[in-house]
């Protein structure tokens, strides 16, 4: 369950970014940045809520790292910088745990590329 919950929280972080420029009152490059990274991060997390595609959450490690870096690079005002760093750190933290698995998928996406092992067929993930 923790895996899906972490991704749901990451969705909230992404949605916050979409509205942060309006709430905290800034425009220009920082605002555009938030309004681009926000929907991307929220969408990745919304997809990753589902166990079979949980792996895509790792993309948000990049989203989070970029947000932290952009707080230094793009000239955010103070409140915006705090928001960007906090959101970025949250995205990174929320993208690390995969969470426990409820279902088995015959080896998952790896099995498509490398072939299923005997353990995959018997039901190991």
């Amino acid at each position: 369950m923790i895996g899906a919950v972490a991704q749901a929280v990451a969705v909230v972080v992404g949605v916050w970014l979409m509205f942060a420029p309006a709430v905290l009152g800034y425009g220009g490059a920082p605002a555009d940045n938030d309004r681009i990274v926000g929907p991307v991060a929220a969408s990745i997390a919304l997809i990753a809520i589902f166990e079979v595609v949980r792996g895509i959450r790792l993309v948000n490690l990049v989203s989070g790292a970029w947000l932290v870096a952009s707080a230094l690079l793009l000239g955010y005002p103070a409140a915006g910088a705090v928001s960007a760093v906090a959101s970025g750190a949250a995205l990174i933290a929320l993208s690390i745990p995969g969470g426990e698995r409820k279902n088995r998928y015959g080896g998952g996406w790896r099995a498509v590329f490398t072939g299923a092992t005997e353990a995959d067929r018997r039901g190991r993930r």
Partner: protein
């Protein structure tokens, strides 16, 4: 849906605890696609000037600005109409076939994945355009984007099952091309 013990449900792929082609898994996706079609169809009627106003509870003239923008009319037919067609494609490719279609009709399942995946990606792109290019949001456009993205996870377990089945055909030395179009004849594990 969770089966941590006991036998897998009928039609489940090798090593799976669920059958991704079961109706319990597919009906919610078809329902979401239908809802997306209704909303996108409504927005398209506004873009075609059949309706003179559009519902917008939060962002003032946001919906109007976005739905009449240059980007939304970049293609021969307005973007909401294209979206509505996309949802029809999702619903139709989601509905055709029985509960073993992941192995009997891989081409259909892959087509379903293509209909769901890129449509979701395009709707995220449109969500980015709204504030960045037009400094506004369109509530119902956001709702359809959520619907599009929400369908991706549930749809892709079926795509995974089909791709795994094709991989097994290849590992057995069979023709992936033929299995893609005609299905694989593997026995369901008892």
């Amino acid at each position: 849906m969770a089966l941590t013990s006991g036998a897998p449900p009928p039609g489940a792929p090798d090593g799976w605890t669920t059958n991704p082609s079961s109706w319990g898994q597919r009906l919610p996706i078809i329902g979401l696609a239908t809802a997306g079609f209704v909303i996108a169809g409504y927005l398209a009627l506004f873009q075609f000037d059949v309706l003179s106003t559009v519902w917008e509870p939060f962002f003032g003239r946001g919906s109007r600005r976005i739905l009449t923008s240059r980007i939304s009319h970049l293609l021969p037919i307005p973007d909401a109409a294209l979206g509505a067609l996309g949802y029809v494609a999702d619903a139709v490719t989601g509905a055709i076939g029985g509960t073993e279609r992941w192995k009997r009709r891989p081409w259909l399942v892959v087509l379903f994945g293509i209909a769901v995946g890129p449509l979701g990606a395009v709707s995220v792109l449109l969500v980015i355009f709204q504030p960045v290019l037009f400094s506004s949001f369109c509530t119902l456009c956001l709702v359809t984007a959520v619907i599009s993205v929400l369908m991706i996870g549930p749809a892709f377990d079926e795509v995974l099952a089909s791709l795994q089945a094709l991989r097994r055909v290849r590992d057995r030395g069979g023709s992936v091309w033929s299995a893609f179009w005609r299905g694989t004849e593997e026995a369901v594990p008892a």
